[in-house]
Structures are given as C-alpha cells and as structure tokens.
C-alpha cells in the first residue's frame, strides 16, 4: 500500500515533468538543486558558511528581553510602567467576560441564576432555524444538549463565553485597521507585511509576551486569543472594501454621499460577503486559540483537555475532544449560515408575524426559566445523571493497542530507522549559505529582485538567529510530513474529484475536519503512537493533509469544461484526460494547497512539541517555562520566516504558471 502510494507519487511527479514541458524541468530543478548543492558542495565549504558560529549570531533574544525589561520596569511619564498599562487595559476585559459567563452559566447571584441549559439549547435551535432552516436548528440543539448531558456544560459555556467576547473585539479591531488601511495607502503598505508575519507566527509566540505583560490566567488567554484572531479580519476587510464593484461606488457618489456616508452606507454593506467570511474565520480562530490558551491559564474545555493529556488519560481527553469538535462544528455552521443568509422581505402583520424568531427566542427564555424553577435538572444537568463515555474509549484504545501494537511499532521503527533518521542527518548537513543561494535564486527567477531581496532577509535571519540546527530539525519534520500529506492529499483529491457525489462527501468531511482546533489532532496521535517524534509527525500529517486534498479537488474540478470536452473529443482515455489535461491545469491550485499544507505543518509542529520533539517548537515550550519572551519571539519568527520563504516562492511560481496557462 505504502509502496503503491510512493509509486503513484513518483508517477505523478514524472507526469508533471513530462506533461508540462519547460516548467517540468523547472520543477525538477526546484526539487533537486538544493540536495545536489548540499551533497557536492556542502562538505567543501568553510565551517562558517555551513553554520554561523555562535559568537557571530545576532543577539536578538538579548535585545528583545532587554526591551521587555525596560517596558516592565521603567515608568513612562513617571507614573506607570508599560506593563501596568497593559494590565489595566487587560482588566477591562474582565467586565464583558464575567458578564457573558454570568449569563451563560455562572449567574449574577444566588437569586439571579444564569440561563438554564435548556434555554441556551433552545436559543441555539431558534438561531439555527432562523439562519438556515430546521435542519441546522436540530443540529444546534443536539450539539448543545450533548454538552449538558455528557457533563461538560460548565466547561463548554466558559469556552463559549471567551469566544463570544474575543470574537467581536477581534473583529472590531480588524475592521478598524482594515478601514484605515483602505483609506490610507501608507498605512496599508505598513500593515500588510505585519499581517503576513502575524498570520505565519505560531500560536504560542503570542502567548509568552501576553503572559509577561498581562500575567497568566483566564483574561491573558482571552487577550492572546484576540491578538491571534484579528489579523485575518483586517486582511479580509481590506480585500472586501477593495472588491466593492466600481459601479456601486459610483452610484454612491452620484447620490451625493459624503466620504463618511460612502463608507458606512455603501462600501461596508456592499463588502458584506467578504466581511462575513472574516467573521467566520475569526470565530474559528478564536475557538482554536482559546483551547490552546489553556497553556497560559485560560479556563474551559482546553484547560481540562491539557490536564488529561498531561496525565495520559486518553479516554477522558477524547471525551473533551468530542465536545470541542461539536463546539467547532456548531460555531462554524451557524456563522456560515449567517454569512450566507440573504435578506428577505418582511411579512406584514403584528409583531410576532413580522419577527417570528425573535418572539420564539423570547418565549424559549421565559418558559425555560419557569420550568427550571420547578425542575432543577433543567437549570444545570446534575452530575449524577451525566453520561461518560471515557471508559468506553479507554477500552477501545486498549483493544487497538493490544491488537495493533506490534504493527504500529513495526511501522514506526521501520520509518524511523530507514527514512526519518537518515533524512534528519541529511538535513543537518544543509549549510545556511545553500538556503540563501537557493531562496535568492528561485525568488529572483520567479519574482524579480524585490522577492529575491525579501528572501535574502528571511534566510539571513534564520542563519543568524542562533537556532540553525533546530531550524533544520523543524524543516526535516515538516518536509517529511508535507511529503506524506501531498501523497495522501493528491490521491484522495484525485479520487474525490472523479465524481460529483464523491466530491460532495469528501468536501463535507474536509470542511468538518478543518474546523477542529489543531490541538485536537494530538489526541489520536498520542493514542496510537504514545509520545515521540513519530507521533508528532503523525499529528502534523493528519492536520496538514486537508489543504492539499481540498485544493487538488478544487483544481481538478475547476478545469474549464470545454477544455475537458476538447480532450475527450480528441480521443483521450479518461486516464489521459486526467494526466495530460486536468492535472497540468490543476497544478497551480495544487501547489497553493501544498503551500497551505506547509503553513499548517509549521503551526502544528509547534503544538506537537508538546509531545516531545527536539525542534524549534521545543524551544518555544522551554521559553514558556522560563518566561523568556525574547526567545519565544525569535524562535516564533524563525518558524514564521520558514513558512514565508515557502509561501512567497510558491506563490510567485503559481502566479506565473497561471498566467502561462491563462487561468487568471
């Protein structure tokens, strides 16, 4: 099976090379040049061109820590330190957090309890029904009822309350920045690269600075979540505003709008579809981050999951994982339904006819309070009645381990000895100068001097940051995982793109999987392979295969129909249509999928450090333990720049390729 996969992967590459002519040779060079360079020239280079000596490395860590120290200690304006100010601002977040939490579960006092669980569940049903239809209402109801009945209600509501507070704040910050960037060119030029780096920074790099300036705890987790989630909103606001049809803008001008009226009455409403994509993404990023933010003390589901994983209570961890998954699914479905919801004209009549869902929602709240006053189990599902599935899971995992342990071990050991360790040794021979030459050459070839210059900066940073070896180990883990992802992803993608029904099923699965917070993916990896390098790679593979699969399907299915028909009428067999026509045309899209896979893998590699690796992720973890903000940022930037090198090169390539193919 694995052999077949490799064979097919090789075949794929060979066909690309054959099918795409000139660019096929380029692809081959792209893949081969660095390894040849390393093997032939690497050993001949003087030591300092291979790895920058420690005493030459730029003391980035020291600089940042010194700056942090100043901000912590020195008083600005003779009154407050910077940290005092950030803490004061952070304290403000407590008000909305406490308020939402009180409504959802905690209650305001003995006499004013929070919403009964049946009320929240009922409201979720009404909301789902309103946004899309009965089906979504039922799904929402089932998800929330599950949380209550399986004894995770309070944890879930704490997590939900953080999302409900963080998402609007992150959204508002993002929209505000986006508007300013849209109005002022210089601000956009400044903001855009910052957003690029922020979106490439792994989750954990946000946490340590937040922990230092705000402290460990629930609100620190919330703040980290907000900082993590707003860049995507800023970016989509800029895109949305720029995408408003010129005619619509002209209609606004001709109506005599002032600039302010243009923005609020014409441009922002017309950009709604793009903005709503942002809203959905902000919500999902908030959930992903709030689960991870348990590392800096955020309460809720993530906190308990972390504790269970630390104690290797896999059954209980899985149980919480399922709740997180349900939370993700329902938040995603509801926000997407909201995004898709088109305005409909109101029916005429009295209030409850004009606003049926508002009326229903109010009725749900009133009725639930009355019922809950008599039946306490409707206020908070009693612990004694909670169902737990943990023993079931534990038994299942035991079974798997008993029956499959030997095989799993065999796979693991074979791969480690014959593939992973040799590969790692090869990577560790990579001189930094080789990366520099490679990145600059390819960057210059596809993107010109500007791209080459930026590439050089990224590569030099990696070389001189003082973490070259760790960078290489990260690169080895990520590239092995990416290769596996690409093989699996393209095979599944090709299979799924062969028919509309397959596409629908696979896309539904991918959509669902993509909404899961990345933390979740550690659970099966730990479950099957315990705690080691291999488990980490497995976790990366599960998580990062999604984008390649998705874009393979997308690329294959969006090949213009008339080109496919032309191929068929030219007498191509289905196989020839796939390899000679659809694959080459889909290739730019697939490359963008691989690009995303690399980004996902780099994110996951840091999270996977939790289960014991020796790469940059581990350094971030160590810096968290030491409260070393400088190190966490410097290492975080290493990961971000690795991602951005790949991102920029692949994008430059894909852009040119699409132009050649006339796909843009």
């Amino acid at each position: 099976m694995a052999e077949a996969a490799v064979l097919s992967g090789e075949l794929t590459v060979r066909r690309w090379v054959a099918g795409t002519g000139q660019s096929g040779i380029r692809v081959a060079l792209f893949l081969l040049a660095p390894s040849v360079f390393v093997l032939l020239i690497g050993p001949l280079l003087p030591e300092w061109l291979r790895i920058v000596p420690q005493e030459w490395s730029a003391p980035f860590v020291g600089w940042i820590n010194a700056a942090v120290e100043v901000l912590r200690r020195e008083e600005l304006l003779g009154l407050l330190t910077f940290r005092d100010m950030t803490r004061a601002i952070a304290n403000l977040i407590d008000y909305p957090l406490d308020f939402v939490e009180a409504i959802l579960v905690a209650g305001f006092s003995e006499s004013v309890p929070g919403l009964p669980w049946i009320a929240v569940t009922g409201l979720a049903i009404v909301l789902g029904w309103y946004l899309q239809g009965r089906q979504l209402g039922i799904i929402a109801g089932v998800c929330f009822a599950y949380m209550a009945i399986f004894g995770k209600w309070e944890l879930s509501m704490v997590t939900l309350s953080v999302v409900l507070v963080a998402a609007p704040i992150a959204g508002a910050i993002g929209v505000a920045l986006g508007i300013v960037a849209y109005k002022k060119r210089w601000f956009e030029a400044l903001l855009w690269p910052i957003l690029n780096v922020m979106q490439a920074l792994p989750h954990f790099s946000y946490m340590i600075p937040v922990a230092i300036f705000i402290g460990i705890g629930h609100k620190a987790g919330t703040i980290a979540t907000i900082i993590f989630a707003f860049p995507v909103m800023a970016r989509l606001t800029i895109l949305g505003l720029k995408g408003v049809l010129p005619e619509v803008r002209e209609a606004g001008i001709m109506a005599g709008c002032t600039r302010r009226q243009m923005l609020w009455k014409v441009e922002l409403p017309a950009a709604r579809p793009t903005l709503m994509v942002g809203v959905n993404q902000v919500i999902m990023l908030c959930l992903a981050m709030v689960v991870l933010a348990s590392f800096v003390g955020a309460k809720g589901l993530g906190h308990d999951l972390l504790n269970r994983l630390r104690s290797l209570w896999i059954g209980q961890a899985l149980e919480i994982g399922v709740v997180i998954v349900f939370m993700a699914i329902i938040l995603d479905r509801l926000s997407q339904a909201w995004a898709r919801k088109e305005p409909e004209h109101m029916r005429e009549g009295p209030f409850h006819v004009r606003h049926p869902f508002l009326t229903a929602g109010a009725a749900v709240v009133v009725v639930s309070y009355i019922l809950a006053a008599f039946v306490p189990a409707l206020q908070l599902w009693p612990k004694s009645l909670s169902i737990t599935t943990a023993p079931l899971w534990d038994a299942l995992i035991d079974d798997i381990i008993i029956y499959a342990f030997d095989y799993l071990e065999l796979i693991k050991d074979t791969l480690l000895v014959h593939v992973l360790i040799p590969m790692r040794d090869l990577y560790l021979m990579l001189p930094w100068s080789a990366l520099l030459v490679f990145a600059v050459t390819v960057g210059w070839y596809y993107g010109g001097w500007q791209v080459a210059g930026i590439q050089a900066l990224f590569a030099l940073y990696l070389a001189f940051a003082g973490y070259w070896e760790r960078t290489l180990i990260t690169a080895y883990m990520v590239s092995f995982a990416v290769v596996v992802c690409v093989i699996i992803g393209s095979i599944v993608g090709i299979w799924a793109a062969a028919g509309p029904r397959r596409t629908k099923v696979v896309e539904l699965i991918l959509d669902t999987f993509q909404t899961f917070p990345s933390f979740i993916y550690l659970i099966p990896a730990i479950m099957l392979f315990n705690v080691n390098d291999f488990a980490a790679i497995m976790a990366i593979v599960i998580y990062a295969t999604i984008p390649t699969t998705r874009l393979t399907i997308f690329g294959l299915r969006t090949v213009p129909q008339d080109i496919v028909e032309a191929a068929i009428t030219s007498g191509c067999t289905p196989r020839q249509v796939l390899w000679k026509v659809r694959m080459p045309l889909a290739f730019p899209a697939i490359m963008l999928g691989i690009n995303q896979t690399i980004m996902y893998a780099l994110f996951m590699v840091v999270i996977a450090a939790f289960i014991g690796t020796t790469d940059l992720g581990q350094e971030i973890f160590r810096s968290k333990a030491d409260n070393n903000a400088g190190q966490s940022l410097v290492v975080g930037l290493c990961i971000a720049f690795m991602g951005l090198i790949a991102d920029q090169l692949i994008n430059a390539w894909a852009r040119e390729r699409k132009k050649v193919l006339g796909l843009e």
Binding site: A251, M254, A255, G256, C257, T258
Partner: protein
C-alpha cells in the same frame, strides 16, 4: 435649427483623459494637442481625446461606440466621476472641474441622476430603501423620503414590490429600481450608462418603451450610452459616435444614415432599416416640369416605410407635398426599391 452652445444644459469642451505616468505634464508638453503617434509611443493610454459636445435641455443625446471606445469614460467625465486630464465640463454654464467638492456634492444631490449597466443596487437594502437612498444621504426625514420614493416606485411600475430586496427581483425589475433611484431627487440631467445592455432582448425592448414613456412625461436632459446602434436610433434625438476615444460624428439618426462622416460610421448605418428611419423628404427627387405623375400623393414628413406600399404599387412617380399641400418633389418606385434593397448609403434629400 441651430442652437447656441450657451443654451446647453451640460457640455464639454476639448476634454482629454489619458492614463499613464504623468498625463498632465505630457499634455502640457505638447501644447494640449499631442499627435496620435506620440501618445502611444510615450506609453499613455488615451481613453478620451479632445471630445466636445453639448446636450440641450429636454434632449436625448445618445453616445454610441463599441467597447473601449471611451464612451463610458466620457460620460464619467461629464458627471466628474472621473477627473478629466484636460478640458472643461460646463453644467448650466458653470465649469464643474473648478467648483469645490462640497458644491459638487450638492449638484449631484439635486441635479444629477445616473443609471448603471449592472444596476449597482445596494444588496442590503429593500427596493424602497434603495430608491430613497439619495434622499436619505441628503438628510431628508424618513416619512418624506419614503413617500417620495413610493411615488417613483409606482411611476416605474414596481408598485407592491417596495419591501423586496434586489436579489428577489428579475434583471428588468432591478433596472427599474435603478431608474427609480436615479429619478428620486428629480434631477435635471440624467446619465444612463448602457442601462439595458445586461437585459434579455425582449425585456430590453420593453424597457426602451418604458424609458420613452417616462421621458415624454419628465422631459429630462439625457446623456445615454449604448453600444447598440438600433437602440441608439430608436431613442436618440441626436447621436454622438465615438471611436478610439474620439467623437467622430454628432448628428440626428437621419443625418448619420444619409451623410456618414467616415467608413466607421457608415459601417454602423449600413444594416439599419433605413425605410423606417428616413422620411420621404430625404429620398425624394426635385419636381420636373411635364413629368407624368400618379394621382396619389404623399407627405414629405412621412416615413418611407409607411408609404412604400403605395409608391411601389404605382407605375408612375408620386407627388410629394409639404404640410400646406405644396408640391416639393416626386418619388418613384425605383427610388424606393433602391432604398429597400441596395445597401449603398442614400444620397438625396
């Protein structure tokens, strides 16, 4: 009937619109009239070159050209949606390019309306709110603006649809909303940018009739853009034909058909059903003494198509009379058949 440029409601003089690095500097360097070769050679893209035209009160001027001919750019220069590189745009004799932004907003709020090719409705607003939008931005109170909007919605035949959202309407209905919105402020000047091009042919015809019906009631001053010559001759009082950013000819439909300025214009007019367009006067021959004439007669103001049957049925030429019954010419069967079947431009009148 020669009208003075001063009477024009809106006019432009020597308007240029160039795209490129430094269009103003380039124009200035060539004394405001660069030769054709120089524009492209220096990497500038000319959207409008040296365009001048007038639109008189109550007139429909159709600006006709193929895509990329600069007609949309020109009309956007007239409404100052696009800043011309050079030239002047006169609105009631006042140069629009020199007035401050605030005043321009006031002119747009009260004196201009515009209809767009793809409707440009605001998707988040109902029909009523879309139509009331220009009144809303002026700060008119809700009751007043909605009352006014409802009147116009009824005028364009959308009564009862005021609570609908644009996506709930067909293309033709959406453009009716666009028309209603542009009329909400009772503008003097009405710009229509290919308003019916995105519609099906049958709907397009219906909308043209609707447009003519509205115009007989409202008597607006209109600049109407189209790439469809049939639409142009159907609606226009006068037509301006544009090619590569230049206005090649301005005239009544009849003038364009009978005296096209160049091959480009002739190309458009070649396939026109001229018998429906031309009057008897423009194809008749001068009366000759002692000529044998049929007993019947036709009026010179009638369209050829309406009297063709009569003329073709007669062996002898018919007498052509003016309104007072005086003989002004004759028209023969051969003359009409030439008009119907030959594709050469007619010379006559």
């Amino acid at each position: 009937m020669e009208r003075k440029a001063l009477d024009a409601k809106i006019a432009c003089r020597s308007v240029w619109k160039l795209y490129g690095r430094d269009p103003e500097g380039f124009l200035a360097a060539h004394g405001g009239a660069p030769p054709d070769g120089a524009i492209e050679a220096d990497g500038y893209i000319p959207a409008v070159r040296h365009a001048s035209l007038e639109v008189f009160p109550g007139e429909i001027l159709v600006i006709m050209g193929l895509s990329g001919s600069g007609k949309s750019t020109l009309v956007r220069c007239l409404s100052r949606l696009i800043e011309p590189t050079a030239g002047e745009v006169l609105f009631d004799g006042q140069d629009l390019l020199k007035i401050p932004a605030k005043e321009l907003i006031e002119i747009r709020r009260h004196k201009m309306g515009m209809v767009f090719q793809h409707f440009a409705l605001l998707p988040h607003r109902t029909v009523l709110q879309n139509v009331a939008f220009p009144l809303e931005v002026q700060g008119i109170d809700r009751a007043t603006r909605e009352k006014r909007a409802l009147e116009i919605i009824e005028l364009v035949g959308l009564k009862g649809r005021d609570r609908y959202y644009p996506r709930e309407l067909s293309g033709g209905q959406q453009q009716r909303v666009g028309i209603a919105r542009s009329l909400a402020v009772e503008p003097d000047v009405w710009f229509l940018d290919e308003p019916f091009s995105a519609l099906d042919p049958l709907i397009r015809r219906e909308m043209q009739d609707e447009f003519l019906r509205l115009q007989t009631m409202l008597r607006k001053t209109i600049a109407f853009i189209t790439h469809d010559f049939d639409e142009a001759i159907r609606l226009a009082d006068r037509i301006a034909i544009m090619n590569e950013g230049r206005i090649v000819q301005i005239g009544t439909p009849e003038e364009l058909v009978t005296r096209p300025a160049d091959d480009y214009v002739a190309n458009f007019t070649r396939d026109v059903a001229r018998e429906k367009l031309l009057t008897v006067a423009s194809v008749m021959e001068p009366p000759a003494d002692g000529q044998a004439l049929s007993d019947s007669e036709v009026r010179q103001t009638e369209k050829v198509a309406d009297v063709a049957r009569l003329i073709v049925a007669s062996e002898l030429p018919l007498r052509v009379a003016d309104d007072s019954g005086r003989t002004v010419g004759t028209i023969s069967r051969a003359r009409v058949l030439d008009l119907l079947f030959s594709r050469e431009p007619v010379s006559g009148g």
